[in-house]
C-alpha cells in the first residue's frame, strides 16, 4: 500500500474518450469515428467494488481495457493513486501492469490450451518477480491455486481438463500471481451456470476482504452487479447515464435506461 492519504480514490477517470476510426475503400481512408467511450468520469475508492453495467456495445469493456492500457485512449485522463497514467511512457507504465490486473469473461479462450496450468499462472511471475527460483515459483503457484479453491497438483494439468468454473478460478489465480491492488473483472461470471456464478462471486468477495483488493466489476446482469458492488455506474452508447450507490440504483432508478435494465432481470 502506498503512503497516500486514504481519502483519495485509487482510480479517478476524467472525461475518458476512446474512439475507433472507421476505414473504407481500397485506400482505407478514415471515413468516421466510432465513439466507443464518449467522455466518462468516475472514481473507484480504495478497497471498494464499483460495478459497471450496460448491454453489449455500450463501451463497458473498452473502458476496462483503456484503464488497463490494452486500448489506446483518445483523450481524457486515468489517474491511478495520484499518477496520470494516460501520459506516462511505456517504460514508466510497467510497474502499473503489476498493480492493475484483469479477469476476462470467457475462461475457455483466455487460457492457452497448450500451456499447463503451472505455465499459465507462473508466466506473470517471470516478468514481475524475476528473482524467484523455480522451486519458489512452484510454491507460489500451489499457494495461489489453493487460495482460489483448487488443488495444488492441478498445476500439471491442461485447460481442457477443467470445467468453466474451474478455469475461471485459474484465471483469478493468474491475476493474483503478481499481487495486484486493482482488478478489472470483465464479465467474469457471464459464461457460467448460476450455481457456479454464485461460487465465483463469493470467491471474489472473500479475496477482496483477505487481500484488500479494489474491483471494477463489469457485467450486463444488474442483479449480479447490485449484489457485489458498493457503487454502480450504468453505461449506454459510450456514456454513463446514471451513477449511484448500489441500493439506490435498485430502489430509486432515475434514468429510463436503468429502468429498462432492471425490468429485464428475471424475477422469481
Amino acid at each position: 500500500m502506498s503512503e497516500l492519504n486514504a481519502s483519495e480514490p485509487l482510480l479517478a477517470v476524467r472525461d475518458l474518450q476512446v474512439h475507433f476510426p472507421v476505414r473504407e475503400g481500397v485506400l482505407q481512408r478514415v471515413v468516421g469515428q466510432v465513439k466507443a467511450v464518449d467522455g466518462i468520469s468516475f472514481e473507484v475508492p480504495r478497497g471498494s467494488t464499483v460495478g459497471l453495467v450496460g448491454e453489449s456495445g455500450s463501451g463497458k469493456t473498452t473502458t476496462g481495457r483503456a484503464i488497463a492500457r490494452l486500448t489506446p485512449i483518445t483523450s481524457g485522463s486515468v489517474r491511478y493513486a495520484g499518477q496520470d497514467l494516460s501520459t506516462v511512457s511505456k517504460a514508466a507504465y510497467f510497474p502499473y501492469r503489476k498493480k492493475i490486473q484483469m479477469i476476462f469473461q470467457d475462461p475457455f479462450s483466455s487460457l492457452n490450451p497448450r500451456m499447463s496450468i503451472y505455465s499459465s499462472v507462473a508466466e506473470p511471475l517471470d516478468i514481475h518477480f524475476k528473482q524467484l527460483s523455480k522451486s519458489q515459483k512452484e510454491e507460489r503457484v500451489s499457494q495461489l491455486l489453493e487460495k482460489v479453491g483448487l488443488e495444488a497438483d492441478f498445476m500439471r494439468r491442461y485447460p481442457h481438463q477443467f470445467s468453466g468454473g474451474q478455469r475461471q478460478r485459474i484465471g483469478i489465480a493468474r491475476a493474483l500471481a503478481v499481487e495486484p491492488e486493482f482488478i478489472i473483472c470483465d464479465e467474469p461470471v457471464s459464461a457460467l451456470d448460476v450455481s457456479v456464478q454464485a461460487q465465483i462471486v463469493n470467491l471474489l468477495q472473500d479475496l477482496q476482504q483477505e487481500l484488500g483488493l479494489t474491483y471494477l466489476f463489469i457485467a450486463h446482469d444488474l442483479a449480479v452487479v447490485e449484489h457485489i458492488s458498493d457503487f454502480v455506474l450504468v453505461m449506454t452508447e459510450g456514456k454513463i447515464v446514471e451513477q449511484a450507490p448500489a441500493d439506490a440504483i435498485y430502489s430509486n432508478p432515475q434514468h429510463p435506461y436503468t429502468k429498462k435494465l432492471l425490468a429485464a432481470v428475471p424475477t422469481l
Partner: protein, 280 residues
Amino acid sequence: MPDLLKVKDLKIAFQGSDESIEVVHSIDFSVSGGGETVAILGESGSGKSVTCLSLTNLLPPAPSCTVSGEILFAGQDILKMDAKALRQIRGAGIAYIFQEPSASLNPVFTVGYQIEEAVRLHRPDLSDAKARTVELLELVGIRDAAQRYRAYPHEMSGGMQQRVMIAMALACEPKLLVADEPTTALDVTIQAQIIDLLRELRSKLGMSIVLITHNFGIVKGFADEVLVMYQGDIVERGPVETVLSAPQHPYTKALIACIPKLGAKQHRLTTIDHEMAASQ
C-alpha cells in the same frame, strides 16, 4: 391434449476407457402437443443436453454411446427408426436451437442462404423458397428482412443471430421446438426479447417447446411444467409455480437460492452443497 412426446425409462451411457458411464438414469417425462412448454433445469453435467440430443437420436452411435428406453414422438419410437425415417422427424417434427448462435451459423454464407437451405430441403414443394425465407425472417422480428437476407452472420449481433437460428428452426413448422440454453450467451435485455419472441411464436404456431436452462429466472411465466435434473436423475417435477413457491428437493432449493436477487442485499450468495443434494 394427447402426448406429443413421451419418454419412458430413458438411459444414456457413454463408453469410458474401461467401463461404461451412465449419465442419464432412467428418466420419464412427456410433452403435450399444441403449445405445452416443459423446462428442464439443471447445471452443466446434469444430463439435460444429452437428454435433448437423444430426442432425435443425435448422439454418437453405439458402442461409444448407448441409449435405451423409449422415445415416442407422435406414437412412433425414435430409437427404432432408420436413418430415412429420422430425417423426416428432424426439422419437420422436432427442431432445435442451441446456446451459441455464432457457433451454429456458417460464417461464409449469408444468413438468408442458410435459412433457405433448410427451406429447400424440407419443403421441396415450394416454388419460391426465397419468399418463404424472407417471411420467416419477418416472423422472428427482423426488420428490413429482404435486406437482412443478404447479411453475413458477423454483421449481426448475438440477439439477431439467435433470431436467425429460430427462423431456421421454424422453416418446416416443427411440432416441437427444443431450445437448449437459447439465451445463455446473450445479454439480459436480449434474453428478455428472445423469450418474448418464443412465447409469441408458440401461441401463433401452436408448437410445443422443451426449454433447457440452468436459470430458474427465465422459466417463470414461460414454462408450464418444470423438471429439475441433477446428476442424471429427475429429482423434482411439477407445475412451475408450485416448484418455485414450494421446492421440495434440497437441490431445487439451492438452485433457486443461488440466483442473486435485486434489492435483497445478501452478504453471501448461496452455493450448492453437493453432498447434501446427493444424499437425498
